[in-house]
Symmetry: C2
Subunit: 107 residues, 2 copies
Protein backbone atom coordinates (compact mmCIF):
# COMPACT_ATOMS: atom_id res chain seq x y z
CA UNK A 1 0.00 0.00 0.00
CA UNK A 2 2.64 2.54 -0.96
CA UNK A 3 1.42 6.03 -1.70
CA UNK A 4 2.12 7.14 -5.24
CA UNK A 5 2.89 10.74 -4.35
CA UNK A 6 0.21 12.15 -6.55
CA UNK A 7 -1.99 14.89 -5.24
CA UNK A 8 -5.46 13.75 -6.17
CA UNK A 9 -8.60 15.76 -5.70
CA UNK A 10 -9.28 13.53 -2.72
CA UNK A 11 -6.14 13.98 -0.72
CA UNK A 12 -5.81 17.64 -1.67
CA UNK A 13 -9.26 18.02 -0.18
CA UNK A 14 -8.15 16.36 3.04
CA UNK A 15 -5.16 18.69 3.26
CA UNK A 16 -7.31 21.73 2.73
CA UNK A 17 -9.85 20.61 5.30
CA UNK A 18 -7.11 20.19 7.85
CA UNK A 19 -5.84 23.66 7.12
CA UNK A 20 -9.22 24.99 8.15
CA UNK A 21 -8.48 23.51 11.56
CA UNK A 22 -4.78 24.15 12.10
CA UNK A 23 -4.14 26.76 9.42
CA UNK A 24 -5.53 29.78 11.19
CA UNK A 25 -3.22 32.29 12.81
CA UNK A 26 -4.24 31.30 16.34
CA UNK A 27 -5.53 27.72 16.22
CA UNK A 28 -2.31 25.94 17.05
CA UNK A 29 -1.60 28.27 19.95
CA UNK A 30 -5.00 27.51 21.41
CA UNK A 31 -4.66 23.77 20.96
CA UNK A 32 -1.17 23.91 22.40
CA UNK A 33 -2.42 25.60 25.54
CA UNK A 34 -5.22 23.08 25.89
CA UNK A 35 -2.74 20.19 25.83
CA UNK A 36 -2.04 21.15 29.43
CA UNK A 37 -5.69 20.72 30.37
CA UNK A 38 -9.06 22.40 30.55
CA UNK A 39 -9.06 26.19 30.47
CA UNK A 40 -11.68 28.88 30.86
CA UNK A 41 -12.20 31.53 28.23
CA UNK A 42 -10.51 34.21 30.27
CA UNK A 43 -7.56 31.94 31.02
CA UNK A 44 -7.04 31.28 27.34
CA UNK A 45 -7.21 34.97 26.65
CA UNK A 46 -4.46 35.59 29.18
CA UNK A 47 -2.33 32.67 28.02
CA UNK A 48 -2.14 33.73 24.39
CA UNK A 49 -0.34 37.05 23.95
CA UNK A 50 -1.86 39.54 21.51
CA UNK A 51 -4.94 37.53 20.66
CA UNK A 52 -8.12 39.55 20.80
CA UNK A 53 -11.56 38.54 22.01
CA UNK A 54 -13.13 38.29 18.60
CA UNK A 55 -10.42 36.02 17.25
CA UNK A 56 -10.43 33.77 20.30
CA UNK A 57 -14.19 33.37 20.10
CA UNK A 58 -14.07 32.71 16.40
CA UNK A 59 -11.29 30.14 16.60
CA UNK A 60 -12.91 28.34 19.52
CA UNK A 61 -16.12 28.19 17.54
CA UNK A 62 -14.30 26.71 14.56
CA UNK A 63 -12.43 24.23 16.74
CA UNK A 64 -15.67 23.20 18.42
CA UNK A 65 -17.41 22.79 15.07
CA UNK A 66 -14.67 20.38 14.01
CA UNK A 67 -14.97 18.58 17.34
CA UNK A 68 -11.42 19.47 18.36
CA UNK A 69 -12.49 21.16 21.57
CA UNK A 70 -15.58 20.75 23.72
CA UNK A 71 -17.39 23.51 25.58
CA UNK A 72 -18.90 23.16 29.01
CA UNK A 73 -21.09 26.00 30.22
CA UNK A 74 -21.90 26.62 33.90
CA UNK A 75 -25.02 28.65 34.63
CA UNK A 76 -23.28 31.00 37.04
CA UNK A 77 -23.39 34.78 37.10
CA UNK A 78 -21.25 35.90 35.44
CA UNK A 79 -21.15 32.80 33.24
CA UNK A 80 -18.31 30.31 33.32
CA UNK A 81 -17.27 28.37 30.23
CA UNK A 82 -14.64 25.67 30.09
CA UNK A 83 -12.83 24.46 27.02
CA UNK A 84 -11.28 21.00 26.79
CA UNK A 85 -9.62 19.07 23.99
CA UNK A 86 -11.62 16.14 22.65
CA UNK A 87 -9.93 12.84 21.79
CA UNK A 88 -9.68 14.06 18.22
CA UNK A 89 -8.04 17.23 19.47
CA UNK A 90 -5.58 15.33 21.62
CA UNK A 91 -4.52 13.39 18.55
CA UNK A 92 -3.11 16.62 17.15
CA UNK A 93 -0.30 16.46 19.68
CA UNK A 94 2.26 14.61 17.54
CA UNK A 95 1.64 17.03 14.68
CA UNK A 96 2.11 20.13 16.79
CA UNK A 97 5.09 18.63 18.59
CA UNK A 98 6.69 17.84 15.22
CA UNK A 99 6.00 21.34 13.99
CA UNK A 100 7.62 22.85 17.07
CA UNK A 101 10.57 20.54 16.70
CA UNK A 102 10.99 21.45 13.07
CA UNK A 103 10.73 25.12 13.92
CA UNK A 104 13.33 24.94 16.64
CA UNK A 105 15.80 23.21 14.33
CA UNK A 106 15.09 25.17 11.16
CA UNK A 107 14.17 28.75 11.97
Amino acid sequence: MESKNIVTSDNACVLQEILKVIGGKWSMSIVYILFSGTHRFSQLEKSIPHINTRMLIKELKTLASFDIVSRKVYATVPPTVEYTLTEKGKMLKPIIDDIYEWGKVNM
Copy 2:
Protein backbone atom coordinates in the same frame (compact mmCIF):
# COMPACT_ATOMS: atom_id res chain seq x y z
CA MET B 1 13.40 20.50 30.10
CA GLU B 2 9.61 20.10 30.14
CA SER B 3 7.64 22.65 28.18
CA LYS B 4 5.35 24.73 30.37
CA ASN B 5 2.54 24.95 27.84
CA ILE B 6 2.57 28.68 27.72
CA VAL B 7 2.40 30.40 24.38
CA THR B 8 5.12 33.00 24.62
CA SER B 9 5.77 35.64 22.01
CA ASP B 10 8.70 33.46 20.97
CA ASN B 11 6.98 30.21 20.28
CA ALA B 12 3.87 31.87 18.88
CA CYS B 13 6.24 33.51 16.43
CA VAL B 14 7.69 30.14 15.44
CA LEU B 15 4.20 28.74 14.88
CA GLN B 16 3.22 31.69 12.75
CA GLU B 17 6.41 31.51 10.71
CA ILE B 18 5.76 27.87 9.99
CA LEU B 19 2.25 28.66 8.86
CA LYS B 20 3.73 30.92 6.23
CA VAL B 21 5.39 27.79 4.88
CA ILE B 22 2.76 25.09 5.26
CA GLY B 23 -0.33 27.24 5.83
CA GLY B 24 -1.02 28.26 2.25
CA LYS B 25 -3.66 26.52 0.20
CA TRP B 26 -1.14 24.78 -2.05
CA SER B 27 2.14 24.51 -0.13
CA MET B 28 1.65 21.08 1.37
CA SER B 29 0.55 19.65 -1.96
CA ILE B 30 3.72 20.95 -3.59
CA VAL B 31 5.97 19.68 -0.84
CA TYR B 32 4.17 16.36 -0.90
CA ILE B 33 4.82 15.94 -4.61
CA LEU B 34 8.46 16.86 -4.16
CA PHE B 35 8.92 14.12 -1.54
CA SER B 36 9.02 11.77 -4.53
CA GLY B 37 11.92 13.66 -6.08
CA THR B 38 12.92 16.55 -8.29
CA HIS B 39 10.21 17.93 -10.57
CA ARG B 40 10.11 20.51 -13.33
CA PHE B 41 7.69 23.38 -13.24
CA SER B 42 5.42 21.88 -15.86
CA GLN B 43 5.42 18.52 -14.08
CA LEU B 44 4.34 20.15 -10.85
CA GLU B 45 1.62 22.00 -12.69
CA LYS B 46 0.30 18.69 -14.05
CA SER B 47 0.62 16.87 -10.74
CA ILE B 48 -1.45 19.30 -8.74
CA PRO B 49 -5.04 19.47 -9.94
CA HIS B 50 -6.67 22.89 -10.20
CA ILE B 51 -3.59 24.92 -9.27
CA ASN B 52 -2.94 27.82 -11.62
CA THR B 53 0.35 29.20 -12.88
CA ARG B 54 0.39 32.27 -10.73
CA MET B 55 -0.23 30.36 -7.53
CA LEU B 56 2.35 27.71 -8.33
CA ILE B 57 4.98 30.36 -9.09
CA LYS B 58 4.09 32.29 -5.98
CA GLU B 59 4.22 29.28 -3.67
CA LEU B 60 7.47 28.04 -5.17
CA LYS B 61 8.95 31.48 -4.63
CA THR B 62 7.84 31.47 -1.00
CA LEU B 63 9.12 27.94 -0.47
CA ALA B 64 12.44 28.88 -2.05
CA SER B 65 12.71 32.01 0.09
CA PHE B 66 12.33 29.83 3.19
CA ASP B 67 14.90 27.42 1.80
CA ILE B 68 12.39 24.58 1.61
CA VAL B 69 12.94 24.00 -2.09
CA SER B 70 15.87 24.79 -4.35
CA ARG B 71 15.67 25.93 -7.96
CA LYS B 72 18.01 24.81 -10.67
CA VAL B 73 17.80 26.62 -13.99
CA TYR B 74 19.10 25.17 -17.26
CA ALA B 75 19.85 27.60 -20.06
CA THR B 76 17.99 25.62 -22.67
CA VAL B 77 15.44 26.86 -25.14
CA PRO B 78 12.74 26.73 -24.01
CA PRO B 79 14.04 27.07 -20.46
CA THR B 80 14.08 24.17 -18.02
CA VAL B 81 13.74 24.68 -14.28
CA GLU B 82 13.96 21.95 -11.69
CA TYR B 83 12.63 22.10 -8.17
CA THR B 84 14.03 19.92 -5.41
CA LEU B 85 13.40 19.74 -1.67
CA THR B 86 16.27 20.97 0.47
CA GLU B 87 17.30 19.10 3.61
CA LYS B 88 15.13 21.51 5.55
CA GLY B 89 12.27 20.69 3.21
CA LYS B 90 12.76 16.97 3.57
CA MET B 91 12.48 17.36 7.31
CA LEU B 92 8.84 18.36 6.81
CA LYS B 93 8.01 14.76 5.94
CA PRO B 94 7.05 13.57 9.44
CA ILE B 95 4.84 16.61 9.86
CA ILE B 96 2.99 16.12 6.62
CA ASP B 97 2.75 12.37 7.13
CA ASP B 98 1.25 12.97 10.57
CA ILE B 99 -1.19 15.47 9.14
CA TYR B 100 -2.32 13.00 6.51
CA GLU B 101 -2.62 10.28 9.09
CA TRP B 102 -4.69 12.49 11.35
CA GLY B 103 -6.87 13.50 8.44
CA LYS B 104 -7.51 9.94 7.36
CA VAL B 105 -8.55 8.94 10.87
CA ASN B 106 -10.50 12.05 11.82
CA MET B 107 -12.24 13.52 8.80
